[in-house]
Symmetry: C2
Subunit: 134 residues, 2 copies
DNA sequence: CCAACTGTACTAAACATATAGTACAATAGG
DNA sequence: CCTATTGTACTATATGTTTAGTACAGTTGG
C-alpha cells in the first residue's frame, strides 16, 4: 500500500557525521518532537535504501543501534516499531519553539548564513556553560 | 615564552565528528567570531597535541585542510598563521547574539537538555527552509 | 501453498580516520 | 655555530564506516 511514512530521512553529505549516526539522530529527534510514538512503524530498511540511496547494511546498523538503546524493536517479517519514547517537548515548550523560529528568521534577515548561525549557537552554549560554573 | 594561545581547542568524543574536522570547524568559528585575525598565530602542532592528547598527524591534517581553504599558512620553523578572515559577526549582530543567549537560558530553565535543544534547533531550521520555498 | 513483503546474517572489499614512530628542513635566539 | 622550536614527510598499523553481494527466516494477504 502507498502508505505515507511518518518519517523521512535527510542526509547531509557534508556534515562529516557518519550516515548511520545521522539516521539514529533523526529518529531520536522525531521521538523528542512527538512525530513518532510507541507502536509506530519506522520506514522499512528497503524503503530507506530507496529514499536516500545508501546500503541496506548501513540502515540496519542504525536500526540495530536504536534497538540497543531500547527505543525500537525489529520484528522479522513485520517491520521495525517504536518501543518507548524520549522526554519530549510538550505544549509548554511551544512558546520557546516560536521564539527560536523567530530568532532564526531575524538572523537570516540580517544576512547570516548557516555557518555564521552555527558559530553564534556555539558561542551561546559556551556562555551558558560559563554561567553554570558560578 | 609562556604566551597564552588565542585559541583553545575542545574535543567532543561523543559527537561522532572526526577530530580533524572538529579542529577545522573551531578555527573557522574563531575567524567568524573575530577571535582570530589575519596575522595571528595558531597554537603549534605540538601545543595542540599536549592540550587535547591526540596525534600530531591529526593536527597537521586539520591545519593542512585549513591551508587548502586558503585560511591559514604554515611556515616551517615559525608556526601557522592566519591568512584571511571569514565574513564575520560585527557589532550589528550583538543584539542577535544576546537574544540567542537569553533564549538558551530560558530553554535550560525550562529543563531542556542538550539533545532536546538540538531537536528544537533542527525543527526551527526546517521551518525556515519551508518558508524560503514560498 | 504462494508470493511479496519484512528483518537479519554473513563474507569480502574499499575507503576514511587516527595512531605510533621516525626523520628532515626551515627559522629564531643565543 | 648550536640548540630549540617550528612545520612537514613518510611508513606502518589499527579501527571505524560504507559498500557489494548473497542468503535466510519470519509474517502477511491472497
Amino acid at each position: 500500500m502507498g502508505n505515507e511514512p511518518l518519517l523521512r530521512f535527510r542526509l547531509d553529505r557534508h556534515s562529516g557525521l557518519p550516515v548511520y549516526r545521522q539516521l539514529v539522530d533523526q529518529v531520536r529527534q522525531a521521538l523528542r518532537l512527538g512525530i513518532l510514538h510507541p507502536g509506530d512503524q519506522l520506514p522499512s530498511v528497503r524503503d530507506v535504501v530507496e529514499q536516500v540511496a545508501i546500503n541496506p547494511n548501513t540502515v540496519h546498523r542504525a536500526y540495530r543501534e536504536l534497538e540497543h538503546q531500547g527505543l525500537v524493536e525489529g520484528q522479522a517479517g513485520r517491520g521495525t516499531f517504536v518501543r518507548r519514547s524520549l522526554p519530549g517537548l510538550t505544549k509548554q515548550h511551544d512558546a520557546l519553539q516560536r521564539r527560536l523560529t523567530a530568532w532564526l528568521a531575524s538572523a537570516h534577515a540580517a544576512g547570516l548564513d548557516d555557518e555564521a548561525i552555527e558559530a553564534m549557537v556555539a558561542r551561546a552554549k559556551e556562555s551558558a556553560e560559563r554561567e553554570e560554573r558560578s
